[in-house]
Amino acid sequence: MISYSYLKCKDLAQAYDLLDKEEQVYPLAGGTDLLVGMRGGKFTAKLVVDIKELAELKILEENDQGIVIGAAVTLNEIATFKPILDHALVLAEGAHSVGSYPIRNRATLAGNICNASPAADTAAPLFTLNAIVKITGSKGKRTVPINEFFIGPGKNALHKGELVESVLIPRPYPKGAGTYMKASRTGSVDLATVGVAIQRWDDQVQVAVGAVAATPVRAISVEKAINENGEKDFAKAASLARNDISPITDLRGSREYRYHMAEVLIRRGIEKVMEV
């Protein structure tokens, strides 16, 4: 058995103070990445601070700013929350595509982005919704746009002594449909080989792709072709995604396969949200 200390935090301040002062200390939310990672030797923790029972992190609500998703809210809660289904279906679909039903009863959105896998299934949807990450820590609060939160595989924008408090889906909400399309080796319980989020914003689209670069990325070339140059041939627009991604070959798929699937899923997604 791996040996470390465990503390169930009483409030947020206790959590970030410990994160600040101690070394090799990890926040524990659903534990679906952390416990697997500790067992596999990816993380060596001296202290685990359990934040999932903190009331301030369990907030899931809609207010004047938009939809607030607290860091301890689970993916099953997100995938069934009415304002998200109504205004951010792309995120509900991304959340729903993670793992399996019991995994989603534990796994959180904050854990998904903090783990910073390029394949994180909630990430691409958040990119297309211009989500804002609210961070809190011993030095105060700050916000980071989601597209600046991922730094590299396993690396996020948090400084020592900070944690994610919530993620905001800001108003105004997108006008138009959104969808998340995932290619994986099995129907469930597998990471994305390629994950594509498409969100319509009135007559424009935003496109983001996961598992095809060191971080999730926006397919800017595709967006530009459609939004600025009025490209109506969506297959042609989707083929431009090659300029925006740099996939690798691994056990889930080759580099070429990923290029191909990104293009296919982007085309299908755009056709779906544009109702072709």
Binding site: M1, G31, L35, V48, G99, P102, S188
Partner: protein, 155 residues
Amino acid sequence: MSEKIAINFTVNGDNESRDVEVGQTLMKFIRDDLHLTGTKSGCEIGECGACTVILDGKPVNSCLVLAVELDGKELVTIEGLTKNGELDRIQKAFIDHAAFQCGYCTPGMIMSARALLERTPEPTDEDINEALSGNLCRCGAYQEIREAVKSASKK
């Protein structure tokens, strides 16, 4: 020797207090300390569902929960479904439909199915597929399992 923490919880309706080692998973705790060996160990990384239990009404992979996290919670394992020697209807349905071969996945399957019937008494095929998406059956009894869940939902 790793640190021990005192926890209070209920398991299958009974109140219990124990000292648990930090780092021990709920799955190991259930099997080795509570001696409830119906909960199985498969992959120990959340992929197979053999270790599924119901924690505060929700199915979870007990290999991805720490035993210390059980404090203040209500745990139901496969042993808790039988009341006064009488099998639960979902257990009976598995027997009636021969929804297993080796039976290793069965406790986990039944716990996932049981939690589904609690939240959705009349599930669609899609609901069943979703609910059992985290439970692997190496013997491939999926068809019979789905039939069993459907038949239990009608009663």
